[in-house]
Amino acid sequence: MTETFYEVLRRQGITRRSFLKFCSLTATSLGLGSAAAPRIAHALETKARTPVIWLHGLECTCCSESFIRSAHPLTKDVVLSMLSLDYDDTLMAAAGHQAEAIIEEVKKKYKGNYIVAVEGNPPLNEDGMFCIHGGRPFVEVLKETCADAKAIISWGACASYGCVQAAKPNPTRATPVHKVITGKPIINVPGCPPIAEVMTGVVTYMLTFDRIPELDRQGRPKMFYGQRIHDKCYRRGHFDAGQFAEAWDDEGARKGYCLYKMGCKGPTTYNACSSMRWNGGVSWPVQSGHGCIGCSEEGFWDKGSFYDRVTDIKAFGVESNADTIGKAAAGTVGAAIAAHAAVSALARARTSHGQPEKQEEN
């Protein structure tokens, strides 16, 4: 049996007296009255922590690398106290058949009551043979594991959108999780990787409130992906003022002007980087002088250069940017108009000389 919250608290040296005081205080602050205190205590004493199975598909482990660097809350608190990370082949000590047996055990014991966190995505070409998990195609393991899950978290751009392995021409047909698994609540947490605190924040929310966070149209938690980088960027003042870095080594770049003209994707990227920053709030891409590359946006590898503001449109077989197409179209049409006007003038001159002003009625 997984430890309860009470057992975890006791293990960390909190006395039963303090625990009961905490329960009374919580009941009072929630306006539930004194009768609720024993019920809260009972729930914390008996309710097992939510088991989490963390699967790895086609990925680079950058999501795990980010996750283990979380500062608020500390990853150790999340993993050891808040949830019960029962399976994560990168972090766990067990290996081989022993490890794989855990998935089966969790599935049976916590049917419909465990969370599957997916890092990476399943490739579907060649029956999924491009990613093998415990001797079987990953897509099969994923489908089986998710079948009895309560909810699924898609970590990173890979699981949410496909990321680099799904970039054109996508030889392995790497496919985002939500296109393979249906009928389950799926939380997309995009980014390459997502911010550590965003990852632990999503997990903490789900454990604390026992429900999934509010999601936007693309299945992302609104609390972290509700605004663009641009909306909270500390260089936004320079954008509004019209002050831009025009080259990587010009005065504007040194003064910390807006990187819009250098192709910053902040205005088109939904993420929390500009408010939460990275590595415990130390810095983030724009602060270190490089524009956002839009790593948490769908298909960001296929959306043109990281260093252009007006990027290539790759639709209808066209691979050119709006300005190139537009100037060519306007130029061609303009030239055609000039030629047409010249011919019109000639034609008019000829008719008015030839047969003066007499036009038949029709």
Binding site: R217, A315, V333, E361
Partner: protein, 234 residues
Amino acid sequence: MLSQQDMLEAERHGKQVRSIYVYEAPVRLWHWVNALAMVVLAVTGYFIGKPLPTMPGEASDNFLMGYIRFAHFAAAYIFAVGLLGRVYWAIVGNHHAKQIFRLPITNPHWWSEVFFELRWYLFLEKTPKKYVGHNPMAQLMMFFFFTVLAVGMVFTGFALYSEGAGLGSWQDSLFGWVIPALGGSMQVHNLHRLGMWIMMTFVLVHVYAAIREDIMSRQSLISTMISGWRMFKD
């Protein structure tokens, strides 16, 4: 609405009065307000995508991008509200006001008129015809390169505006779905810009055709959009 009908009307009236009231005041007002809004939108829109050279001095002393974006958004609201007003007038106004919103594509005569106009523009017809409203070719162009495109520009434009207005804003509720539907914010920015270029190319053709027909065809065009009266020259 139908050019055949227009022809008859023109012929009938042409012999007696030689001029017909075509564009009612709201249509004319809308035309010029809309034209002005489009000029502002195109110029400011161009500079939003490709900003002007960097501004000197303190950030707090400047607000250039802010003003450019303000002008763009203000003109966009005028453009959108104008379009709504124009749709209303298409319903309550005279039948010429409906022309740019619906094409009589099931009418074979209308199609033959389209091809007649095409031949006229290709110098294959010596004598132009008379039309009270738009000529069928112009109507076809107007429908796709103005009406459809303008609606597309309003949808993509408000979708982009909703990104700044934020989740839960009415812009987001009405138009926010456009962003994921078209493949993300960057793609919508690019398509919106491409739409601007198509619209400007249409403006070139529109202005040229209006001036040319004013000179070469048998009826007035430019003054009609000011006075509302179509004069027939013969």
